[in-house]
């Protein structure tokens, strides 16, 4: 069974630029999560989707971050404009929906200069 796919794996941008990350969850997983992991910290939930609906986006900085999950499968996370403090690893995870067991992708490491 294929795991959670993410791209790109690395991205370097300058502050005030825009960036987008892509995630393809495990086939059949209804729930998709985006996390931000700053160096030295644990993952922090940004947004949770159930199929194509948002379940929790309370910690998403909505003035600059946006996410969508069209058709309830793939998802994209966008930052516009980026700030220095957005430098982090952005992790995507999915779960079947009936359990809290989450399966993580390898992440996208973002560096904002």
């Amino acid at each position: 069974e294929a795991g959670v796919a993410q791209s790109p794996r690395y991205k370097i941008i300058e502050k005030r630029q825009s960036v987008a990350f892509w995630c393809n969850p495990i086939s059949g997983h209804a729930t998709l999560y985006w996390y931000q992991q700053i160096l030295g910290q644990g993952p922090k939930l940004l947004i949770q989707f159930q199929n194509n609906g948002v379940v929790d986006d309370s910690q998403l900085p909505k003035d600059r971050f946006s996410a969508e999950r069209l058709k309830g499968v793939d998802s994209t996370l966008k930052i516009q404009p980026a700030k220095l403090e957005d430098s982090a690893v952005y992790l995507c995870a999915s779960s079947p929906g009936a359990t809290v067991e989450q399966f993580f992708g390898p992440g996208t490491r973002l560096t904002v200069l």
Partner: protein, 109 residues
């Protein structure tokens, strides 16, 4: 806001030594998970503990959930260099996970 504190933050030991890392909270969780994360990869689930006082063993790893379901520990016997990584605990709040900051373990050969 539920918080999970992990200790120690960093642990460097020799191959063959035993170690214990801790995960503590003032909140009660319905379940608690332990993940291991290697550099450049996402966290990988090791175990889920659900019942207060529960003990689970995974080869040389022993996981314990506190009686009050607020804390947990991970004990590794005879650590090996392959155990090196970031160990994260995560408490379940509904179907949402709250992560601790992790313990970085380095096992030297």
């Amino acid at each position: 806001t539920q918080l999970l504190e992990q200790s120690p933050q960093f642990l460097s030991i020799q191959e063959g030594e035993n170690l214990t890392v801790y995960c503590n909270s003032s909140s009660v969780f319905s379940s608690l998970q332990w993940y291991r994360q290697e550099p450049g990869e996402g966290p990988v689930l090791l175990v889920t503990v659900v019942t207060g006082g529960e003990v689970k063993k995974l080869k040389r790893l022993t996981f314990q959930f506190g009686d009050a379901r607020k804390d947990s520990s991970l004990h590794i016997t005879a650590a090996q260099p392959g155990d090196t990584g970031l160990y994260l605990c995560a408490g379940a709040d509904g179907n949402k996970l709250v992560f601790g900051a992790g313990t970085i373990l380095r096992v030297k050969s």
